[in-house]
């Protein structure tokens, strides 16, 4: 039986020809994500972190002693390129996980809350395809958020402070161009760092139809991981916490460049991706869509 025969005249190709729809859905997902005012608000807030830091340092009359305040802050007045690094250190523990929590927690639960999940699924988006597309969207947001911070830091640093060769943690000095490359490497590192949390958020998001709950739970998970990471009695656990290497991008500011923690971090995050990806898959493909 051929359904297309019984159907009214159809656009050429017929209804049973795939049209590369996965990329369409991904494009649509990204455009919906970045068309939301909430997404923009979060990106603006992320961009504001280095701006606020730089303006505060610029306006304050007292100079900081080395080692005072967040890392690199005392260097900012001498070299604007440090603004981005300081902002990254400031944003990593709470603010970036918060935005990732909002985006990742919203992935499935948000659609369920709006009721659009059932329409996507009867379209049919396919549950696995939808999960993949949703995760890709969240991962892209991780990248965009860290790049926003990096770019905003570089711009405001260049605008308010002198720019010159950058002193690394090892005391060696590198050129402006290389420091910009290292900034991008740091952004890549932080993006990778957040991928595990994004997958945890995706999994939590499949558990509920209440997006706010999934967002809060994801943020709480990131806070708990960081608390566990500072309890000395649990030091056997520390290397397995997804947040353990979050500040490890410091290794990218050493000379010679140390990609060891980048690799460690990537492997750890891949482990989290596998575990929580499997959980999210199992949960979502067996889930009754009742929203």
């Amino acid at each position: 039986m051929s359904p297309s025969e019984t159907r009214p005249p159809e656009t050429e190709g017929g209804p049973h020809v795939r049209h590369g729809g996965s990329w369409d859905l991904l494009g649509s997902e990204i455009s919906v994500l970045f068309r939301r005012r909430r997404t923009w608000a979060m990106l603006v807030a992320v961009a504001l972190i280095p701006i606020l830091l730089a303006v505060a340092v610029r306006l304050s009359s007292s100079t900081l002693d080395p080692g005072e305040g967040p890392p690199f802050l005392d260097r900012v007045t001498q070299n604007g390129l440090f603004v981005g690094f300081t902002a990254m250190v400031v944003a990593i523990p709470l603010f970036l996980p918060l935005t990732i929590g909002v985006v990742a927690g919203d992935t499935i639960a948000g659609e369920a809350g709006l009721g659009t999940l059932r329409y996507l699924l009867v379209a049919p988006a396919g549950r696995v395809r939808l999960l993949l597309v949703k995760y890709a969207g969240a991962a892209l947001f991780c990248l965009v958020a860290t790049l926003t911070l990096t770019v905003s830091g570089a711009l405001v640093g260049a605008a308010l402070f002198p720019v010159g060769p950058v002193t690394l943690l090892s005391g060696d000095t590198i050129s402006v161009t290389e420091s910009l490359l290292r900034s991008l490497l740091v952004a890549a590192y932080v993006t990778v760092s957040l991928l595990g949390l994004a997958m945890i958020g995706l999994f939590i998001s499949t558990l509920t139809d209440v997006p706010v709950g999934a967002m809060a739970a994801t943020i709480v998970v990131s806070v708990i991981a960081q608390i566990l990471d500072v309890i000395p009695q649990l030091d056997w656990l520390h290397p397995w916490l997804f947040s353990h290497y979050w500040l490890g991008f410091a290794d990218l500011l050493r000379q010679p460049l140390d990609l060891g923690s980048f690799a460690h971090n990537a492997i750890l995050q891949a482990g989290y991706l596998a575990v929580f990806g499997a959980l999210a898959y199992s949960r979502f493909v067996t889930k009754d869509i009742l929203s």
Binding site: P66, G67, P71, D74, R75, Q78, V89, T167, L169, S170, G171, D172, T173, P232, W240, L247, A250, D251, R254, Q255, P256, D258, G260, G271, A274, V275, G277, A278, L279, Y281, S282, R283, V285, T286
Partner: protein, 379 residues
């Protein structure tokens, strides 16, 4: 029926994937350590291997961890004091490096060229040695210290450098140095054997096992249960030193490479130029960093009452520092109050490996022995 099995199938990944990941986490390190079988060697042959080692240049990552049972330290409270002293390597630093675990990067570039980087959280401490220059740089304070060794006094310089190194905690970072220290102290009090072959930093190693002899003295006379030195089977370079304490299964102290590369590092690494805005301190060598044992402090020659006295032999050696020679910093450092406990006849610091005892009259006794042995020595 069919639906149930479909669902069961779909839940499979949720159990299988975590199980696989956990298995991998457990199995990969096991596999790395397993199945090493080297041609048998006697301890003498392994020592010879170390002796004949021609490695002069390498770079690597070193992990050092201590489980000395030190009381937990409030280092942040004590740190400003440590920073006040001109030396970045005072008592506070030593204690900090002895507690918990640390990661170093070590670069050795042959003749008189080496660089050790202590990786701290968002910071780094560097010791760069290049010919007659030694640079210390601490990124958290952005402070650099320059020590220049007089080039014509080669022998003295080497001695001084060795002395300096003995005071730098970072010298623990090179297993070769530590191993040599242990090997030179080999005497009839020690049983030397070769343990099972293993894999360290991706290289197959012989394990030289040093155990205090029990037939000559009671085991309880020393706190050290054994010292094992992992020797690279190809190059003879010691790659790891592990010290086990009596009655403790986890190593009390361990330092070893986690990665090593025998290619000569880029020489640029040893040409240290302090950052433009760093505060640079020039130090002439005789002026020793604070916190050292202070047996000769430049302007006055050591008096008899200031020379440390060594009693006992082998593993149960006890060092006695006369009251006059005890540096003032020891008295002032608030860390000491945290560290020590009041005992019969003074205050004591007991760790799983080393005991330090300060008697009420100010003398300080130290050794890898139980507290009672020190108290007895103080009598």
């Amino acid at each position: 029926m069919k639906l149930v099995s479909r669902n069961a199938l779909r839940w499979l990944p949720a159990f299988v994937v975590p199980a696989v990941v956990v298995t991998a986490v457990i199995a990969v390190p096991l596999q790395a350590g397993a199945a090493v079988d080297l041609p048998d060697k006697t301890p003498e042959q392994v020592l010879l291997l170390v002796n004949d080692s021609t490695v002069s240049a390498f770079s690597g990552t070193v992990d050092q961890s201590s489980d000395l049972g030190l009381p937990s330290l409030n280092l942040t409270e004590a740190l400003p004091e440590g920073n006040d002293s001109t030396s970045p390597l005072g008592l506070t630093t030593v204690l900090e490096l002895l507690s918990g675990s640390h990661e170093f990067r070590v670069y050795v570039g042959g003749e008189g060229q080496s660089r050790v980087q202590v990786k701290d959280r968002m910071a780094e401490r560097n010791v760069v040695h290049n010919g007659s220059d030694i640079w210390l740089y601490d990124s958290s304070t952005n402070a650099a210290t320059h020590l220049s060794l007089p080039a014509d006094l080669e022998a003295t310089a080497q001695a001084k450098s060795a002395e300096l190194h003995s005071q730098l905690p970072t010298d623990l970072a090179t297993p070769a140095q530590l191993a040599e220290r242990f090997l030179s102290e080999l005497d009839p009090s020690t049983t030397v054997s070769v343990g099972t072959d293993a894999r360290i930093a991706g290289r197959s190693v012989y394990q030289l096992l040093l155990t205090p002899r029990t037939n000559e003295m009671l085991t309880s006379d020393t706190l050290v249960a054994s010292v094992s030195i992992a020797v690279d089977s190809e190059t003879g370079l010691p790659l790891q030193v592990t010290v086990l304490a009596q009655g403790q299964s986890a190593p009390a102290f361990q330092v070893g490479f986690t990665a090593i590369d025998f290619a000569a590092p880029n020489t640029d690494l040893f040409n240290f130029v302090p950052p433009a805005n760093a505060s640079v301190t020039e130090q002439t060598l005789p002026a020793k960093p604070e916190g050292s044992t202070g047996d000769h402090s430049g302007d006055h020659s050591p008096a008899v009452g200031e020379v440390p006295v060594v009693t006992g032999t082998g593993w149960s050696t006890i060092v006695e520092v006369p009251a006059a020679a005890v540096p003032a910093e020891l008295g002032d450092n608030p860390l000491l109050d945290q560290l020590t406990t009041a005992v019969d006849g003074g205050r004591a610091l007991t760790t799983s490996l080393v005991t330090v005892f300060q008697s009420n009259d100010g003398r300080v006794f130290a050794g890898a022995v139980p507290l009672a042995a020190l108290q007895a020595a103080a009598q």
